[in-house]
């Protein structure tokens, strides 16, 4: 069956929604039940990273052999990644309000993520500023590679070089030490896989619509 991974997405996400709320979690001060956000906030960033890798892959392939399909794939993957990133920023902001006491703090992890999202926002602006399709595809493919190369250090490397409130940055060891001795891994890993697959599903649907549009347009011209 060709669509087995979509079935897997549905099963995993339903499991995560139910087990994510009901499974036992470590009892920690300040975090309390909000530790369950781990199943929803963190997979957004995993999914975003995976789909942005796919976007760069298609951009590089476009630069080697330019076809409109590859440009569409790179664009829709990047758009899905930006959506996941925005959801990640929003959910993180809510979580920060009730654990750190502020919607936003000038934390290297948060600011790094925000700047990286702005860099990707510029990708969309850049794309929309061309009228010639081939020029748009080529320049935005090059910019996409640049954006990825700048964004990933902002997300994952620079915050680790300094002190940060955010788990997984500075001296903070993320949740590794908590979910080692608990059932959290049982939900967290399926959550990462499920939300990542959902990102690919959404990107695939968006791509197919754009390709279809292109084909209908070409036929009208012919």
């Amino acid at each position: 069956m060709k669509n087995w991974w979509k079935v897997l997405t549905v099963v995993l996400l339903l499991y995560v929604a139910v087990a994510g709320l009901l499974m036992p979690v470590p009892r920690l001060a300040i975090l309390n039940e909000s530790i369950r956000n781990l199943y929803f906030h963190v997979p957004m960033w995993f999914g975003m990273t995976a789909i942005l890798v796919a976007s760069v892959y298609y951009s590089v392939r476009y630069l080697r052999t330019p076809t409109p399909e590859l440009d569409i794939k790179a664009h829709e993957a990047a758009r899905t990644g930006i959506l996941m990133g925005c959801v990640g920023l929003a959910t993180g902001s809510i979580w920060a309000r009730y654990t750190w006491g502020a919607w936003w703090t000038n934390d290297p992890k948060l600011n790094g993520a925000a700047v990286a999202m702005l860099i990707y926002g510029a990708y969309l602006v850049l794309r929309s500023s061309f009228t010639d399709e081939q020029q748009r595809a080529r320049v935005s493919a090059i910019y996409n590679v640049f954006a990825f190369a700048v964004a990933m250090p902002l997300f994952y490397i620079l915050p680790r070089l300094t002190d940060s409130l955010h788990p997984g940055s500075g001296g903070n060891p993320a949740f590794a030490k908590y979910d080692l001795d608990s059932d959290m891994r049982l939900v967290f890993y399926p959550a990462v896989i499920g939300w990542t697959l959902l990102a690919f599903w959404v990107a695939q649907l968006a791509t197919r619509i754009s390709v279809l549009k292109l084909k209908v347009y070409e036929k009208q011209l012919a």
């Binding site: 669509n3 079935v7 009892r27 039940e33 036929k219």
Partner: protein, 87 residues
Amino acid sequence: MKSNLHSAAPGLLRRPVLLLLALLLPLLRAAAQAPGAQPEMAEALRQSGKIYVVVAVIAVVLIGLLLFLISLDRKLSRLEKEVADER
């Protein structure tokens, strides 16, 4: 592909339910255990059983969204076939 989806539908419906049951039945026991002292968790919700209402609501919302995605997927497949056939 279309026929695949049709024939697989009843099996697909049953499998997630079984999977969920297998995963959730042990949890009922865990949820029923008495709380210790320590940091405050959503005990009150669990004691009155109302957390399951929230879980059910979230599950319904998610199922609705996923069904929408599936139907969109199938509509797209049909359109793609139509456009390909017209050539």
